[in-house]
Symmetry: C2
Subunit: 350 residues, 2 copies
């Protein structure tokens, strides 16, 4: 009988289930080995593990991260932002390929919490970075869009650690210039690139105030064809404007350049700026210190997140806050009384 020569259908199903249970998600140690050998599939699977909200997965992913931490930190982390239409994908494609030509390995991550979406999906499909996505020196990972900004940001930060352990030299973290996510990206990268279009008109509407002052470099994109003149003008205007800004703590003066991904012009200058940045700040270990501060910042942010979560999970608290807010808006109570009322509710119902 054939039954004796191999497992029957039931046995196979059981075996598969067992296999899935035990090997569907590899153990942290196995994943770590894969990452250390630069295995992209292992890296992808690890990031999927990071993105899982299952408690057992969180534990596993933290174990994995702990193993990866000592092997991380050897990259330059670059935040990239700009409104939809500024040409972020095209820039990243061209810049990424340029880096690969310099012998670098490039990882592209993104922060794009669904709640903050305002059009222009980030890394939605890799077709917009067709060359880069084909290269074995590049790894492109779209943003996990589920969850709060805090959660998405944590996953991206942790993905940076894994990409570094996997040997990537340059990490690009992309976001869209419309909200809080810039601040998140700024606080997980070494260098912050702002992409802008020439002509300070409606294109600017999307960029939030305060973002410009975070930029270590502003790139005027699409500086090709009839746009060249306008782009050059914009460049000198921004240059003049930036020298009026308060200098940043590290003494770095933001650089303004024009780039054309289409003509592959100016892309080399961007890498030169980054090399200059590292040369200038390396000796003072500024980048290292900044990263330590960022780690502490994230520790405290995560803590606050967790504390506030337990607050907001109190039954009926959102409805009660809404009630109190209405009273506040009618000047029936003071802001202090409002917060005291909400706190009493919390203490009674937690």
């Amino acid at each position: 009988m054939t039954d004796q020569k191999g497992p029957n259908k039931d046995q196979i199903a059981k075996l598969l289930a067992h296999k899935k249970e035990h090997f569907g998600r590899l153990t942290p140690t196995v994943l770590f080995e894969k990452i250390k050998h630069g295995d992209i599939t292992g890296l992808s699977e690890s990031i999927t593990l990071l993105e899982s909200e299952k408690e057992s997965d969180i534990e596993k992913s933290q174990e994995l991260l702990k193993m990866a931490l000592p092997f991380s930190g050897n990259s330059i982390r670059i935040g990239i932002t700009g409104v939809p239409g500024v040409g972020k994908s095209t820039f990243i494609e061209t810049f990424g390929m340029h880096l690969i030509e310099q012998g670098k390995k490039v990882a592209v991550l993104a922060i794009d919490p669904s709640s903050e979406r305002s059009g222009g999906s980030i890394l939605g499909d890799k077709t917009r970075m067709s060359e880069l996505s084909k290269s074995d020196k590049a790894y492109i990972r779209p943003s996990s869009t589920a969850g709060s900004l805090g959660g998405v940001a944590r996953k991206t930060r942790e993905s940076i650690v894994l990409c570094e352990a996997a040997g990537f030299d340059v990490i690009l973290v992309e976001t869209v210039g419309v909200g809080q996510s810039e601040i998140a990206v700024h606080s997980m990268t070494d260098f912050f690139l702002l992409l802008m279009l020439a002509g300070a008109g409606d294109e600017l509407q999307g960029i939030k105030r305060g973002i410009m002052e975070m930029a270590d470099s502003i790139l005027i994109t699409k500086a090709d064809g009839e746009n060249v003149k306008k782009a050059n003008l914009a460049r000198s205007e921004y240059k003049n404007a930036l020298h009026l800004f308060p200098p940043s703590e590290n003494g770095w003066i933001p650089k303004v350049e024009t780039v054309s991904a289409y003509n592959n012009k100016g892309i080399d200058k961007v890498w030169e700026i980054l090399v200059q940045f590292v040369d200038q700040l390396g000796p003072s270990s500024w980048i290292e210190k900044k990263r330590k501060h960022q780690q502490e910042y994230w520790m405290m942010e995560t803590l606050k997140d967790i504390l506030l979560q337990s607050f907001y999970h109190t039954k009926g608290i959102n409805e009660y806050i809404e009630e109190v807010r209405k009273k506040l808006n009618k000047d029936e109570i003071t802001a202090y009384q409002a917060s005291e009322m909400i706190l009493s509710y919390y203490n009674e119902h937690k």
Copy 2:
């Protein structure tokens, strides 16, 4: 016997103690009546009550505020910042006197939490505003310096309400351009004035990044004597720079002017800018909406403050955080694990 004609020494002492108990701090109703009649002593006593940390005083002050709320809101609230040495006091003195000449009543408040002091005491003595402090159309109140920024900010916000109920038309809230206090002032005022010195050199070191983008108007101070040319140059530079900034949500374009408090030049223009601001934004009730948002913001901030306070008051938590921070800095744990550890400590010791 003289004893029969009046109270003896003991009786007098008892009477005085009784009087102090009941009238040393007037009741909210009496204080409110005084405020409504524009009584400056009553206003001062009320703000002192706001500043008290005693539980019974807090209750009283909230009761008073509740009565005052419907009579508040009829002023324009102006935040003023700039580094020490920019000439804030002199500007406020001159600007304040100009407003009084226009028939306005002017209150000057300040935010200057002791922890953020970096030199240049604010409103430390009224001698620096000698004319203004003598006018019965002006009220100058130095910042309460005790406590956290959150606490100081709350008291200043609440003082605004009382000053408005007392009939003041213009509230100036002064701060020093070096820290978080700008954000606090920005979120309790309608209009944000940034004072700057001409010459974009070392003077700027003190201003934090991001502050400039909050400004509704930048004033180049000390535009007198040999400084005039430099100030005019700075004005046109900032004007050019600001038009490159993302426009603010309300559509207002920040105005840049030069002023000389010494020669009393340009001060009238500042008031004209404010009138223009109110004219432009009044019809859309933008200011009203902004104030409602600010109220809600403060409600949530106060709530967060109270929640975090209870966290930080947990016995030994600061030492434990320090321990965890060290592990984090040595890459022994992840930021997420660090926050989990601190949270477990909190849950065990709260």
